[in-house]
């Protein structure tokens, strides 16, 4: 048997995607690849205060990252979910929790019993009151989940809200410590093999050529290799996700430090609010077909709660993905391979999934088609499933106060989503995938939070006597309230666990 070849990996771009890729490859495949990252300090990174999903904890753990140190360096806060305001109708508010409703241990999901009590006309509290994560979030508290599965305080997960412009440098230290090389410079040309079309090298302004076996395109929206050089077609999803601009502006944190991200629906899109230790990230995601840039900036400035720290900054994008994320010897990770608006904090998740798949399918110098095809199959599925979940947020609404909401409310959605909605509307059934990013509770939160109320319920919910069910629900709610009240205040938890350097 021949010795495994050492693959020379060139990473193009040093933002969050680039350094996450570099750190992961250097850490997990030290004997199989050498990692060389090319970036230019002259090119900014898109990272605007990033909100994440709980999956990132597994990624950090695999890289051996110390949580408290990482949170302090990136000025992070804890995140229990996302609060959606004004989506189903103006004045509405619900939380999409990173946790279960009820205990989620019986044969039947708690929301089915809840639906039955409602259908029988019993007085029943909001579903949110039966979720430990939601209750904790509303109270502005945070403590680590219990490891005892009998404890109600074990029924949630968490993610982080952190400064993405600090995450990349943090990972850079880690990656360079593990032997990754970095070259500073702007890429002015990409050279390809005349026969295979593979990328052979990138040429810098200085004239230096950097050669490699495998190129990872982390160049962001520019998509330097995948898009510009290899011309991989882009699948445009803007008919379902018409937002194509964001204006961002950080401000001082003046209100409470919420352990959740806020997504507030606006006239022609929505506004994010991500509280970090040192500042709050704000931005307005909108559709340029429905709103002028200056009006958007004006609306954002008018809406932010604290004193602005910078001027509004404009970002342009288009929802969709490249037909294939891995073409020839070039793998797109992050924005270079596709874009979905940050409504459900999926950007870093998608980066992470691409890196995980790349490691699991890491090729030899001679790249096998089976590795490439499988990578693309996995990544396409991820994009497509998140797409449906995002479209649901726009489509499930009664809002008719602007042309934008009229459009999304009445547009035709993909069949895959229409079927899911119909199944929930009938008896609260969640079509899920074992491998999907969002669990049942996520779908339930959005459906119910945005007015898709099931007509019926699962017949199994009729098995227990109604009185026992009501008493059980009341006990659960009291237990959640009591346990949540024992958790520390979010700010106090941060001050004790991971305060940023003064």
């Amino acid at each position: 048997m021949s010795l495994p070849s050492n693959v020379n990996v060139i990473i193009v771009g040093g933002g969050t995607a680039g350094w996450m890729t570099a750190a992961a490859l250097a850490k997990l495949l030290p004997t199989r690849c050498s990692v060389h990252l090319v970036e230019s300090e002259a090119i900014g990174i898109v990272g605007v205060g990033e909100a994440t999903l709980p999956h990132i904890r597994a990624f950090n753990e695999r890289l051996g990252i110390n949580e408290a140190e990482f949170m302090a360096r990136t000025r992070a806060t804890f995140k229990l979910g996302i609060e959606f305001s004004n989506w189903g109708a103006i004045g509405d508010s619900y939380i999409h929790p990173f946790g279960a409703y009820g205990r989620d241990r019986g044969e039947l999901s708690f929301h089915q019993y809840w639906l039955r009590m409602r259908h029988e006309g019993r007085p029943v509290a909001a579903l949110e009151d039966y979720s430990f994560a939601c209750t904790l979030a509303r109270l502005g508290r945070f403590g680590m989940p219990s490891t005892d599965p009998d404890d109600i305080a074990s029924t949630f997960g968490y993610a982080y809200q952190f400064d993405a412009t600090l995450f990349a440098p943090y990972l850079r230290d880690l990656a360079e410590g593990l032997g990754a090389r970095r070259t500073e410079g702007r890429i002015v040309a990409v050279h390809r093999d005349g026969e295979s079309g593979d990328v052979r090298s990138v040429e810098l302004e200085s004239g230096e050529r950097i050669e490699g076996d495998l190129f990872v395109d982390c160049s962001g929206f520019v998509s330097l290799l995948l898009g510009k050089t290899l011309s991989e077609p882009f699948q445009d999803w803007s008919r379902w996700l018409p937002a194509d601009r964001a204006v961002a502006m950080p401000c001082r944190t003046e209100t409470a430090l919420t352990p959740y991200t806020s997504a507030i629906a606006m006239e022609s899109g929505w506004r994010w609010r991500i509280p970090l230790q040192h500042r709050t990230g704000n931005g307005y995601v909108y559709s340029s077909g429905f709103l002028a840039d200056d009006k958007a900036a004006e609306a954002l400035v008018g809406a932010v709660e604290g004193e602005a720290i910078a001027d509004p900054r404009l970002l342009r994008f288009q929802a969709g993905r490249r037909e294939r994320s891995w073409v020839g010897n070039c793998v797109g990770v992050g924005l270079a391979s596709g874009f979905l608006e940050p409504l459900e904090s999926t950007s870093i998740y998608l980066i992470q999934q691409a890196i995980t798949a790349l490691i699991e399918l890491f090729p030899e110098r001679e790249i096998a088609a089976s590795d490439r095809d499988e990578f693309n199959r996995i990544i396409d599925l991820e994009y497509d499933r998140i797409r449906d979940f995002l479209i649901l947020h726009y489509h499930a609404t009664t809002r008719s106060d602007s042309p934008f909401w009229d459009y999304v409310r009445t547009m035709t959605v993909p069949d895959s989503l229409a079927e899911k909605i119909e199944l929930f509307r009938r008896r609260g059934r969640v079509v899920k995938y074992r491998e999907g990013v969002f669990l049942d509770a996520s779908w339930i939160a959005v459906y119910l939070g945005q007015g898709i109320v099931p007509e019926g319920h699962d017949l199994r919910a009729d098995a227990p006597p109604l009185g026992a069910l009501e008493r059980g629900a009341e006990t659960l709610r009291a237990e959640i309230r009591a346990a949540a009240a024992r958790m520390p205040d979010h700010l106090a938890q941060i001050a004790r666990y991971c305060p940023m350097a003064a």
């Binding site: 495949l29 004997t31 890491f362 491998e435 007509e455 017949l459 098995a463």
Partner: protein, 499 residues
């Protein structure tokens, strides 16, 4: 709100029918259940195959049957897996046990370390030697839940070997106890509603009718009710050419082994599954390559038993088991040879879905679509798993085996095989019945070697990996002395439930 289903008619009074009735009564108590207790046709394998997968245990727990009921009272024994003889050419028989092979090593699954050691020429032992339950089963020992296996990973699951007559009796008694109503009659005709083609009633040979909102067809391969609404069938015989099953019986001579035997034969394979008193024997073969007479002689020669008239089998599935207000389950929905004992499993799984996806009387197409999609995905992957046994076998001389191995696999199995051949990776599928360990047991047991070793496994120093593999082998050997045999464990269960 639409009207809920409150009257269900189960047609077929075998194991599948009574199981459906018991599950419905237990889990949806508001639903009244009538069972038209007509004997399913002899070709219904879910009624006859004695071995089940571990999922049967969960099914029993869900409907409220205890070990006392489904093991001790029903005369079942426990099984840890299957030993495959002759499927891998001249290599020693391999064992597929329902248990993990080793633990993660560094960041990589155990099998990747094993493959790497093989590719580097310092092989260690056969793959199943690193499976606690397989090693135990070879010596007639079981790994009970919570058994002390020291440093060796436990996590073994049991399937059952049932006595079909006693087992059907138990389920009937249980379903009746739960309030199901039995009508001993034979269905002779089906009346469809004029406006929408829904089943209105099933006419019985005693002149009466059975009416309901939903009809569950458990009549076996004929699908007496469901076929009246349409008979579309997806044929799998180009991949699974066996179309005959000969059954025989013998008295169980010794303590029943935890392993079923599946032995490759020139035109198919034969089994031996020892129950408490009776051992089930059989020969599954392709009539194109072997006459019924020769098959009977071959079975007799191999194990001394005379088979009855063989059952004819047409492997495949109904693309839409649930149409309008009629759902086919068991052999009425999917027909597969007994290899890997999935027949009753697929029926249980369908029953679970009917309970959890019960629509209202309108049986909205979108709800049935979801049911059919899940059943289809599950059956297709079970099919793939069975085909895999033939696709990676190595008996090039026999025309039967040669043809079976040469058939181009379905796309989903092709993906599994391509991925595995490259570097030992197994892609994920929704609704998969068999775990990664089960797939590995077959693929590596039959000697399919990936082209290269996985980079994640290579990240662990070779010496360290080898040491961990040796330590695991020693831990398994050390644990064997503490494990019970079949008889000892059943006695233990009996004592426990007497308390």
């Amino acid at each position: 709100m639409a009207e809920p289903i409150s009257e269900v008619v189960v047609v077929g009074g075998g194991i599948v029918g009574w199981s459906a009735a018991a599950a419905l009564r237990r889990r949806l108590p508001a639903v009244r259940v009538t069972v038209v207790a007509y004997e399913p046709d002899p070709g219904a394998l879910a009624e006859r195959v004695v071995s089940t997968l571990p999922s049967a245990i969960g099914f029993h727990q869900d409907i409220g049957l205890t070990e006392q009921d489904y093991i001790l009272n029903a005369g079942s024994v426990l099984r840890s897996g299957t030993r495959f003889t002759g499927w891998n050419g001249d290599a020693a028989p391999y064992v597929h046990a329902y248990a993990p092979h080793g633990q993660m090593l560094g960041g990589a699954h155990f099998h990747l370390a094993w493959i790497r050691a093989r590719l580097e020429g310092c092989g260690g032992e056969a793959f199943d030697a690193y499976n606690m339950a397989a090693a135990a089963a070879r010596q007639g020992l079981l790994v009970p839940p919570g058994a002390d296996t020291g440093a060796a990973p436990a996590g073994a699951e049991f399937g059952l070997r049932i006595d079909p007559a006693r087992y059907a009796y138990l389920l009937r008694a249980f379903a009746l106890h739960l309030g199901a109503v039995e009508r001993k009659a034979k269905p002779v005709d089906v009346t469809l509603r004029a406006n929408d083609g829904f089943v209105e009633s099933v006419r019985l040979d005693d002149g009466s009718e059975a009416r309901g909102h939903l009809f569950i067809d458990c009549t076996g391969t004929a699908a007496a009710i469901r076929s009246r609404l349409g008979d579309k069938f997806e044929d799998w015989s180009r991949w699974l050419p066996c179309d005959r099953v000969a059954f025989a019986e013998a008295a169980t001579a010794a303590e029943p082994s935890p392993l079923d035997e599946a032995v490759a034969m020139p035109a198919g394979w034969r089994w031996q599954s020892a129950g408490a008193e009776t051992t089930s024997l059989g020969y599954v073969y392709a009539s194109q390559h072997l006459s019924d007479g020769d098959a009977a002689r071959a079975l007799h020669e191999a194990c001394g038993a005379e088979p009855g008239t063989p059952v004819t089998l047409r492997q495949g599935r109904r693309p839409e088991p649930w149409l309008r207000n009629c759902v086919a389950i068991g052999d009425a929905a999917v027909c597969l040879e007994p290899l890997e004992w999935t027949n009753l499993h697929l029926a249980h799984s369908a029953i679970d879905r009917i309970v959890s996806m019960m629509p209202d009387r309108g049986c909205a197409p979108v709800e049935l679509w979801d049911y059919n999609r899940q059943c289809g995905a599950e059956a297709d992957r079970v099919r793939d798993f069975l085909i895999c046994h033939y696709a990676v076998s190595s008996q090039p001389e026999d025309p039967f085996w040669h043809t079976a191995a040469a058939a181009e696999p379905p796309a989903s199995l092709a993906l599994t095989l391509t991925q595995f051949r490259e570097r030992g990776r197994l892609p994920f599928f929704e609704e998969e019945t068999f775990s990664r360990d089960s797939w590995l047991a077959i693929l590596l047991g039959q000697g399919l070697m990936p082209r290269r070793s996985d980079p994640l496994a290579d990240a662990v120093p070779a010496v360290e990996a080898r040491r961990a593999m040796e330590a695991l082998r020693r831990a398994i050997d050390a644990a064997l002395s503490k494990l019970p045999g079949q008889g000892a464990y059943l006695n233990h269960l009996a004592r426990q439930s007497a308390r």
